[in-house]
Symmetry: C2
Subunit: 178 residues, 2 copies
DNA sequence: TTGTCTGCAAACACTTTGCACTTTT
DNA sequence: AAAAGTGCAAAGTGTTTGCAGACAA
């Protein structure tokens, strides 16, 4: 199953395991458990609580944010920074999360059970608005075949100012790396 | 930091100055000189040689690469690392270069006088192949207006394996952050 | 002269790693 | 018991910044 070298998952492309859209009925937790099992990895308390927490918050987030949230939970629900980073990496490998880089740091979003989509990125308030376009996928495949390129995935980010910031005419407009 | 984290032009969107497609006949050097002037900035030896060098190499590159190239030039054509970074930032502000982030570091490409285009990114050899699509721009504008979003720019990166790597069946396939 | 630039060294943000100890299997 | 995981502290990257001396305007 795991033919692909398990690079620390800087990839935003789920690996072979992830591509098997086997059982869509599994919960993220179950799916992750299966993933760990097939990899000879262990189901630890930390990994469990991280998947649990992430599954309950359907927003975009980054590692430090997640770490802070975990630390603010009542229970001894805490994991170290390295563990959080390591687990996020595994969740990407498992196809539960998708990773992208914005403003210099990695942003994660849910991938399991969510349809392919792209983003509008407000350079003023940094919000991400999702949208999807079939046409886009068509263009992608057309362009790829023209170049004898095997497309595995794509990422389109349209940067600009969102409706809210436009009306607020925020003074503090600035633009971030994409 | 201040309210607006003065992210030194991490933007890939040319600022107001850049949007004035005034004189397309100017050389990059002239344009940069004009940019500096309107900003009350000075035309130093370092800035001149950096623009000069960059203008002579029409490839994608990153700051460290440029720094290394400058250091290998015969003449005392050298600038410090901070100066290289600062000047690249200015060149982006001036609309001469466009910046994007791939594999964790900033990649620059020429923007002045070059048509809008997007990229195919080979996750195996890390090469960037350019292409352009009018349809894409259409989609972008359609999506943006649907969301009352003012699109300023967009970036589409199609990741996959290029023709060359596909035939080479490279063993070392790996995937990088985009 | 005057205020901007440069280069150095140090600081930075985010992320990864080495290693001894702890846990899961 | 054996193997994998965790946390700590330290190391890395790529990039930015404070500051004193160097230099355009």
């Amino acid at each position: 199953m795991a033919t692909v070298p398990a690079v620390a998952s800087d990839n935003f492309i789920p690996d072979d395991f992830a591509l098997n859209k086997v059982d869509v009925a599994m919960t993220p937790q179950e799916r992750f458990a299966e993933f760990l099992q097939t990899r000879g990895k262990r189901s630890t308390r930390q990994r469990q609580m991280i998947v649990e927490h992430v599954s309950g918050h359907h927003e975009h987030f980054d590692a430090e944010q997640l770490l802070a949230e975990l630390r603010s939970t009542p229970e001894g629900a805490r994991a170290s920074r390295p563990t959080v980073y390591r687990t996020l990496t595994e969740m990407v490998e498992a196809g539960l999360l998708k990773k992208m880089v914005l403003g210099g740091r990695a942003i994660y979003e849910h991938d399991y059970g969510y349809p392919q989509h792209d983003h509008l990125y407000c350079t003023s308030c940094h919000s991400l608005i999702e949208f999807s376009s079939d046409e886009l996928t068509r263009i992608r495949d057309a362009v790829a075949s023209q170049h004898h390129f095997r497309a595995q995935s794509h990422r389109l980010i349209i940067a600009g100012i969102c409706a809210h910031c436009r009306s607020t005419r925020s003074k503090s407009r600035h633009q971030d790396r994409v």
